[in-house]
Symmetry: C2
């Protein structure tokens, strides 16, 4: 299937934001004070609110027969659109493609006044969180990552590193929604309770081992009622789309605090996401088989009819403040995950937990099997024992103040690309006295 032709000036399909993508987000347009719902094609930000105001979505209806228009009118987030369900998400994506394809609808193409309302230069738009995130959950679904952490924290050989429950369920924990921020938001070096010397009392001070975690995350679209659960094979229709995530971690805080109730302050100081949510329809060409699950029998409520995942290349770079430029420190792929997003959602709701439109759940660190594909500095430097050479004489064991950590992810099609943009965060020094 050749790439869709697009009439936008200087259009290239070999960009994260091709006409095949049509990701969803929210941003503040020039001369506006509040955010609106948007998509992006190459460097053009397209206002969905303006499309709706122009009546270009009026004929698109939900399964209840309602126009999708109201989901955008006067909305600064995607929550209302997310609640409409997959047929609505699909019809809006298709409509946008029709409006910008050569040979498609000419409503925008032939109307310069409408263009000025709908189309904006990406450099002039301040992206915001795409939706109100009611709850955020972090899973732990990479076998390679869980094995690495097991070996480092509990010792023993890799084949004994996984807990028994890890083999039969996607293990997860509830995270902090308030500190989820959009790419580009600076994050402040955390302080906390540490115990570097296990034979001495703990101390309070700046974290010594600031880390990133390379993750992908899912935004829930339609949810479920409390007391019900989502079947693994119906889970895909509940998923609005995916984004890139950096789940910042304070490893030394984590090590002392996490037994027996799990990570808390070590993870709640910041979580950065890319501004763009890529739909599963856009990712459909990149379906691939998920890893065979042979660690233990999979219970029926987690057994998928079609066990597939998506082939999405992921990359992490560190850009030190000292000016050496960005160095890639990790190359991984979403397809490595042992547990799929459908399984995460089925397990998340198995006891009756309700999901709401805009809820977010993440994969956990996505590591591959070779050392260059490990998704955290904890693993890349093997707990700080193997400093990583970034080139130009710069080395890192963990992230330092002033570093900009840049995650990117994209799927490469036949002549076109579907990408997630960047997920960036600059680490600021701790305020004095904290």
């Amino acid at each position: 299937m050749p790439a869709l032709p697009c009439w936008l000036p200087a259009y290239t399909p070999l960009d994260d934001f091709s006409l095949e993508n049509i990701p969803f987000g929210a941003g503040v347009l020039p001369d506006s004070s509040s955010a609106c719902c948007v998509t992006r094609i190459n460097t053009y930000i397209i206002s969905l609110n303006a499309l709706a105001d122009a009546g270009l979505l009026d004929d698109l209806t939900t399964h209840a027969g309602l126009s999708v228009r109201s989901a955008f009118t006067a909305q600064s987030t995607l929550n209302a659109f997310m609640a409409l369900g997959r047929p609505a998400w699909r019809s809006v994506r298709t409509r946008i493609q029709e409006l910008f394809t050569i040979g498609g609808r000419r409503d925008i193409h032939d109307d310069e006044s409408l263009q000025s309302k709908v189309m904006h230069d990406a450099s002039q738009v301040k992206m915001t969180l795409p939706c109100t995130i009611g709850d955020y959950t972090d899973f732990y679904c990479s076998k390679e990552h869980a094995t690495n952490v097991g070996v480092m924290f509990r010792g023993g050989p890799p084949e004994k590193a996984l807990m028994e429950n890890w083999k039969t369920m996607p293990v997860g924990y509830h995270g902090r929604a308030s500190s989820v921020v959009v790419s580009g938001t600076p994050v402040v070096h955390p302080s906390g309770q540490l115990r570097p010397d296990p034979s001495a009392d703990p101390t309070h001070g700046p974290c010594r081992t600031v880390d990133f975690e390379l993750e992908m995350a899912v935004f829930v679209g339609t949810g479920n009622d409390m007391g019900t659960s989502i079947g693994v094979d119906e889970a895909e229709d509940k998923i609005f789309g995916m984004t890139l995530m950096n789940d910042w971690s304070a490893r030394d805080v984590q090590k002392y605090e996490y037994v027996p109730l799990g990570p808390f302050g070590a993870k709640n100081w910041a979580t950065t996401i890319s501004p763009w949510i890529v739909t599963l329809d856009a990712l459909a060409p990149f379906r691939t088989n998920a890893p065979v699950q042979d660690l233990a029998p999979v219970l029926p409520y987690l057994t998928e009819k079609h066990r597939h995942t998506f082939d999405i290349d992921l990359k992490v770079a560190i850009e030190p403040a000292s000016g050496e430029g960005a160095s890639v420190v990790c190359r991984s792929n979403y397809k490595h995950l042992y547990w799929t997003a459908k399984q995460m959602l089925a397990h998340h709701t198995v006891t009756g937990c309700n999901m709401r439109p805009g809820d977010l759940f993440a994969s956990g660190t996505i590591s591959g099997s070779d050392a260059s594909s490990f998704g955290s500095m904890l693993e890349l430097s093997w707990q700080g024992t193997r400093p990583l050479d970034l080139g130009n004489g710069v080395t890192r064991t963990f992230v330092q103040d002033g570093d900009n950590v840049v995650m990117t992810g994209c799927a490469q099609g036949d002549g076109f690309r579907v990408g997630f943009g960047t997920c960036e965060g600059h680490v600021m020094p701790a305020a004095s006295g904290r």
Copy 2:
């Protein structure tokens, strides 16, 4: 200090909702379709939105000089009021007392038309969640509870049961905000992944050990910015008030899932709170010394200038569907907690986690030292080994379908009472097929 005299018919100060209380909540009034902000005096629900509309709050201003009126106008939750800060909360409470005290202001007393807008029979009002809860956190602050759980789950003598980190920080974990429901909402018996026989594969099925947890919880009023922390001595001014909480638990699910990332599905299926938030101003007469912290040195960021807590009697009753009536199964007190609410909030923000108006954090199960004061069936029946006699031949090891679990809490003053109402939940059978 004698109780305040009140002109409301049949008024008694020996009620949870005395004129000394003035708790805050939200509810749907008769002939209304949406909730508004309310308080309660005895059986009278007082509409704060109606007070604001009548101009009776216009002269009350925030520290920024703004009228508090707008915090209620057209609001269905308390979030806007919570964001105003403690002087505003205090001035509204005082104003309400003035309006209903004999010898106070006569605006409502002398205006029957206004009375019909402001005052409503509690039995005609459907209480709702008091605010939008952005994030919910559960701590683990009772030494007696943590000791009991340590002995049961890990074995060994009580004096060795606490983890090292428990002694130096209020250990906590992020919970699920979506499934926090107001008292009276039925909860559905959860199913999940269980492993009753550790030598066999896990199974999927109904939880066999449904439990309650007797807790008290704090609603954050004004919060803090991400990257900053709240000092332990400034924490009290950030706290809007307290409520009763039942943190429902699926013990068998918890036992298999919780290592190493903490409780997840075992706790996210339901958390019930009382509809009323009692302010710290109302609780001030019940200040008492908090337990001496002698387990380990307390770090400066957790060291309180004044180490006090509140004397609040707590009670749990189980009312079986079979009609035997309610039997009290536990009597405990908030003052038993080793870590105070101020310490929880300081620790919650120590790494830079931001709190927002309406965020909720809970104490963890509040157990006392004798067996009748244990705040969960897990402890009361000692993991099901000691069935509890409810009277009339009814026994329980855990909670059964059809049971109504009723928590109450109140502080008894000199001639008046300040209480929290009830926190009730009825357990419904699991839907078939889940």
